[in-house]
């Protein structure tokens, strides 16, 4: 690469870039070269690229203003294809070989953007203009909106799934230190010295914070100090340092979130092991926030032109990246901190002029400018900026005493860069997110954390610049004090810390004696003339917009924010919020704190969705639960249905069979011969204790005390509203021992329900409930030949006399211990064989093998549904919906009138619940026996030409019954009990009306003889 010409703005020496590792990259298709250690922003700037983006609304040309995550302008579309990423800030992208970036929100090109026509008509599209137009004619809104949507939106989404992997993990520490600048390093060192587990997190790829930018030339001592300090921390096993990690959210009980960019600094896909990003969820006993401060721009006319930068950013580019952003630099400031930039730039060979809005400036600064040959204009302001795609010159004029107007001799200064500083805004975001309140400090013209308002659930300390403490020396001592205090508060003995000796606290004076000038005047009143005073660059919000909002009555901060969209862009107003507040305060004649602050909402910087999802994607998105027999089902072509978390076989197609054909075959097999169903997913609860029967009396609507040992009984559970919420068969295994079954989806809910009552309402009862769902694998064999089949595998006497319907028996099946329940959900002779789960697959295989002699047919849930519907057995959740009582489903027989009480009983007699004519479960037989009603179809009381039509019920279950050779349906029909035999009309959505006769819900074997046989 040595033959390549050095980038025009790259300084010949200095910076923490690795000049031995040149990296090539492209921007808008053009190739450039930078170095390892560059950011995309610094590399572009080095190459003289000034124009980097277009603004959101007016499509104004924009360049970099910052060097960190507060950057509002230089948003890029990074990479292409499935790894493309919109809206990335060039200042936060570490350069890697082959990087490809594209500018956004412009067409056809960045330098010639048709959308910039908005800028020409900007006069007619002030803040909130869309609320006042696009209303005529009403039908056109969707059309207008299409164009509005197209124009908005910045970058583009990928259109293919993300090929990268992410991790989401937890961390715990006694002291979390946010920010590894001088304050953070000192805090971490102090806390670690006390023995606390310390987590130190920093956004940058190296520790140092503000030190990385602040050194004026002599960088070695500073870097050495940082290296020493970090090494000392790293040697402590209780200290973890996370770099390239941003703390994004501060939630209650010191729960903080952070995003670590693990491999983003490498070419995409080049690390086969590590995740791309890692999302941290941190519990800290104590937090030290040392998040630094953000420089804010001055709000002056056309302050958005490419080349207008923050003064400290210019300093950072010079020192850290060896990039001199301009040869002719105008430094424009209202405070001392920008003088550092002026001297540094001049030292690096730039022509520098300092324009200071203050009339009085510290003499030593004036002297140092003089010594460096820098022109100085105190009491002046920039009144206009020339140049569109890049800054060409500025005009400056003297400011009036009150700073409200300009008057007198104007000067035009040609320049290619304006380094401006409106002062420093402490990064109070996390403190505010923690729930602490902010206090306005006049001396620094900014909000700082009010330590008195730290919430007890979120104990934390703020130290350094984020606390309004700007000089390095003070940051170090404040950090150490905070770190020590945090360790003590976390229960450790305080310990004094030895920081490495080479103290880097040079002569950083911070912002000195700042004189805020929130809005820099021009010769025109604000809002008149072509110039715009931007405070929110990305969302294109100007001082004039604030004036307009005030004029129209949108005075509260939140109205201002929402009406003008200030602070709502992807930078969340990091550089703009305070300026906006101050301008509004000025308009209202109020103090800034009276206007208030907006709420700082998480995240501090935007967080990749994939990182939050972490590893819990794809097969780990939500658990898939499988029975011990699952693999057999897969091997035998089962089509699965999701039931709760479980995968259950829905049907087993043979050859080219569709569901309909398979179900017809399976259902017939069960009624004619014998079928087998994997019933392992049913919830099972072991209930023991001398009060168990008493307890069940309260839980179920029917009686349980008299159930004999060995007996099984069906029960319905109601919630306290009196509505059915689960059902199942419970068996008495001993005097004080029951085995309850629940629906598959209801297992956890029911156990919780039982425990709730036992633990909170009836603790005196001696009852213990234990889930045993997965302890038992269950094969249910159903059909007239079930007994014959089972008898080949067991010595248990299966005769009806020895083992009648609705009883249970224990013994060996296929040589393993088993419990058999003779209960039936199909109405056929049925045995539900329970074996310990380890033998589930074996039992199933053995039954299948033995079943060959009986033409045993495996069947799935769909056939189970048909078979039970033929018998009129309800499915809770399908034939009921949380508004249905036992009486509504024609099951009054199961509601005991002998018991004083059971859960939900009192609700059954409420005015509306006890009334006649409620929707009640009935059977429906269509006139055309071949027509299967769609589930969900509604019964109307009157057929009209078109809706609306009054409805009186709906179909809950509907199937073609192979055993009846016709369709059957269940429906909830108003006053259904009294409509048996009536013909009702079902109105389908396509307009068809189907006549059906109301029938009993039991379609097969009304007397129930088959199951008893």
């Amino acid at each position: 690469m040595s033959d390549e010409r050095e980038a025009p703005n790259r300084l010949p020496a200095g910076g923490s870039i690795d000049r031995d590792r040149p990296l090539s990259f492209t921007f808008d298709g053009k190739s450039y070269s930078g170095y390892a250690g560059d950011t995309l922003a610094s590399a572009l700037l080095a190459n003289g690229v000034v124009l980097m983006g277009r603004s959101f609304k007016y499509h104004r040309p924009r360049g970099l203003i910052a060097a960190g995550s507060e950057e509002p302008n230089a948003l890029m579309q990074l990479e292409k294809g499935d790894r493309t990423e919109p809206n990335t800030r060039a200042t936060c992208i570490e350069l890697y070989s082959g990087l490809s970036a594209t500018s956004q929100n412009r067409w056809p090109s960045l330098s010639f953007d048709i959308g910039a026509v908005n800028s020409l008509v900007s006069r007619f599209i002030p803040a909130g203009f869309y609320y006042k137009t696009f209303m005529w004619p009403a039908s056109m809104w969707l059309t207008y909106e299409k164009f509005i949507r197209k124009a908005a939106g910045l970058g583009v989404s990928p259109t293919a799934p993300d090929p990268d992997r992410y991790e989401n993990t937890h961390a715990h520490c006694e002291v979390l230190v946010v920010g590894a600048g001088p304050a953070g390093i000192a805090a971490a060192a102090a806390a670690a010295a006390s023995g606390a587990r310390v987590l130190l997190i920093d956004e940058q790829n190296e520790a140092g914070g503000s030190l990385l930018a602040s050194a004026t030339g002599e960088q070695e001592p500073v870097r050495a100090w940082i290296a020493d300090a970090v090494e000392q921390l790293q040697s402590n096993p209780d200290v973890t340092i996370l770099k390239r990690t941003t703390v994004t959210g501060y939630f209650d009980y010191n729960y903080l979130t952070a995003l670590e960019k693990v491999t983003d600094h490498l070419p995409p896909g080049s690390d086969p092991v590590a995740p791309r990003q890692r999302f941290w969820k941190i519990r800290a006993r104590q937090v030290v926030i040392a998040a630094g401060a953000i420089e804010r721009p001055l709000v002056f006319a056309d302050n958005d032109r490419p080349g207008v930068m923050l003064a400290n950013a210019v300093n950072t580019y010079i020192n850290r990246y060896a990039v001199l952003p301009g040869r002719n630099i105008v430094v424009f400031t209202n405070n001392d901190s920008a003088y550092r930039t002026a001297l540094n730039a001049a030292n690096k060979g730039a022509e520098v002029v300092v324009v200071d809005t203050r009339r009085e400036v510290d003499n030593t600064l004036v002297e140092s400018l003089k010594n460096a040959g820098i022109k100085h204009f105190p009491g002046h302001a920039i009144v206009s900026v020339q140049g569109k795609l890049a800054v060409g010159a500025v005009r400056i004029m003297p400011l009036s005493e009150d700073g409200k107007t300009v008057q007198g001799q104007a000067w035009e200064l040609s320049c290619d860069c304006i380094a401006n500083s409106g002062g420093w805004t402490p990064s109070v975001h996390l403190f505010s997110q923690s729930g602490g309140k902010l206090a306005y400090r006049d001396g620094i013209a900014a909000f700082v954390p009010d330590a008195a308002t730290v919430r007890s659930v979120n104990p934390c300390f703020s130290a350094g610049a984020c606390n309004g403490t700007f000089s390095t020396t003070d940051c170090l001592s404040e950090g150490a004090t905070a770190g020590r205090a945090a360790a003590i508060a976390a229960g450790f003995p305080g310990s004094d810390v030895q920081l490495p000796a080479s103290d880097p606290a040079s002569d950083d004076r911070g912002q000195g004696d700042i004189h805020p000038l929130w809005l820099v005047p021009t010769v025109h009143p604000v809002g008149e003339g072509a110039a715009k005073h931007f405070h929110d660059f990305q969302n294109d919000v100007t001082a004039a917009d604030i004036h307009l909002a005030a004029r129209e009555g949108y005075l509260s901060v939140e109205h201002l924010k929402r009406y003008t969209t200030t602070g709502m862009a992807t930078d969340q107003g990091k550089t703009s919020n305070l300026n906006a507040l101050a301008i509004m305060a000025d308009i209202r004649g109020a103090q800034i704190p009276e206007v208030g602050t907006t709420t700082f909402r998480p995240p501090y910087t935007p967080v990749t969705l994939g990182a939050i999802a972490g590893q819990e994607t794809g097969e780990l998105f939500l658990q898939v639960r499988q029975t011990p027999m699952h693999r057999w089902h897969v091997e035998h072509n089962a089509v699965f249905e999701d039931v709760g978390d479980w995968k259950r076989p829905r049907y087993y197609p043979l050859g080219v069979e569709d569901m309909h054909a398979a179900v017809q075959r399976e259902c017939a097999a069960v009624r004619d011969r014998v079928g087998i169903l994997d019933a392992s997913t049913l919830g099972k609860i072991d209930i023991q204790g001398e009060d168990a029967a008493e307890f069940l009396e309260m839980i179920y609507t029917n009686g349980w005390k008299k159930l004999a040992v060995g007996g099984c009984r069906y029960g319905l559970m109601l919630n306290e509203h009196g509505m059915i919420f689960d059902d199942g068969v419970t068996s008495r295994l001993g005097e004080h021992h029951f085995h309850m079954t629940t629906t598959t989806g209801g297992a956890a809910r029911v156990l919780n329900w039982l425990e709730e009552w036992l633990q909170t309402e009836w603790p005196q009862m001696n009852v213990y409930c234990t889930s045993v769902t997965e302890q038992w694998a269950v094969a249910a064999i159903n059909g007239p030949r079930a007994r014959e089949l089972l008898s080949t595998l067991t010595d248990i006497d299966l005769s009806t006399e020895a083992f009648p319907f609705m009883t249970t028996s224990e013994g060996q099946v296929a040589g393993v211990p088993a419990r058999i329940y003779r209960i039936s959900f199909t109405g056929e002779l049925s045995y539900e064989i329970n074996v310990p789960a380890r033998y589930g697959r074996y039992l199933w295989d053995t039954l299948i093998e033995a079943g060959k002699a009986f033409d045993l047919c495996p069947y799935g849930t769909e056939s189970m549904h048909v078979l039970r519907a033929e018998k009129g057995f309800i499915i809770v959740g399908q034939d009921t919906d949380g508004t249905v009582t036992p009486h509504d489903v024609d099951m009054s027989w199961i509601v005991s009138d002998k018991k004083d009480d059971f859960l939900g009983k009192r609700s059954l007699s409420r005015l509306d619940t006890a009334r006649d004519g409620r929707p009640q479960l009935v059977g429906l037989l269509t006139e055309d026996p071949a027509f299967v009603l769609p589930e969900g179809a509604h019964i109307v009381s009157q057929v009209l030409d078109k809706p609306p039509m009054p409805t009186i019920g709906h179909v809950t279950s509907s199937y073609l019954s192979p055993n009846l050779g016709r369709s059957i349906a269940l429906a909830l029909l108003q006053n259904g009990k009294n409509r048996k035999g009536d013909t009702v009309q079902v109105q389908l959505m396509d307009g068809t009306v189907i006549n059906a006769q109301v029938s009993s819900t039991v379609f097969v074997d009304e007397k129930g003889e088959r199951a008893r046989g």
Binding site: D252, Y253, Y255, S456, V457, E755, E756, Q759, D900, D901
Partner: protein, 95 residues
């Protein structure tokens, strides 16, 4: 993201727990004698205070015990946890 001091297992992450609403609502006995209004009041009506709330939690992913907590519904701070059946603890006159 609250940290909850389970009276049995100690301090744990909120995601191990489930909240089940207002505590100290005894189920009426002799339910047959209640009016619809009295029964409705028990089933549906809650104090929903802005301030101190006595509420039920269950340690779903832990010991599966139910217990009560006193929480400030504005601060979301849990001021005390205590076993079911214990009286409401004194939380120092907080409103």
């Amino acid at each position: 993201m609250i940290l909850i001091n389970c009276p049995y297992c100690g301090e744990r992450d909120q995601t191990e727990f489930a909240c089940h609403g207002e505590a100290h609502i005894a189920r009426p006995t002799d339910t047959a004698s209640l009016t619809d209004e009295q029964w409705g009041d028990y089933v549906f009506f809650r104090t929903n205070p802005k301030g101190i709330h006595y509420e039920r939690w269950v340690h779903v992913h832990g010991c599966r015990r139910w217990f009560n907590a006193v929480r400030h519904t504005v601060q979301d701070e849990i001021l005390a946890t205590y076993e079911v059946g214990a009286p409401r603890p004194d939380v120092g006159g907080q409103q």
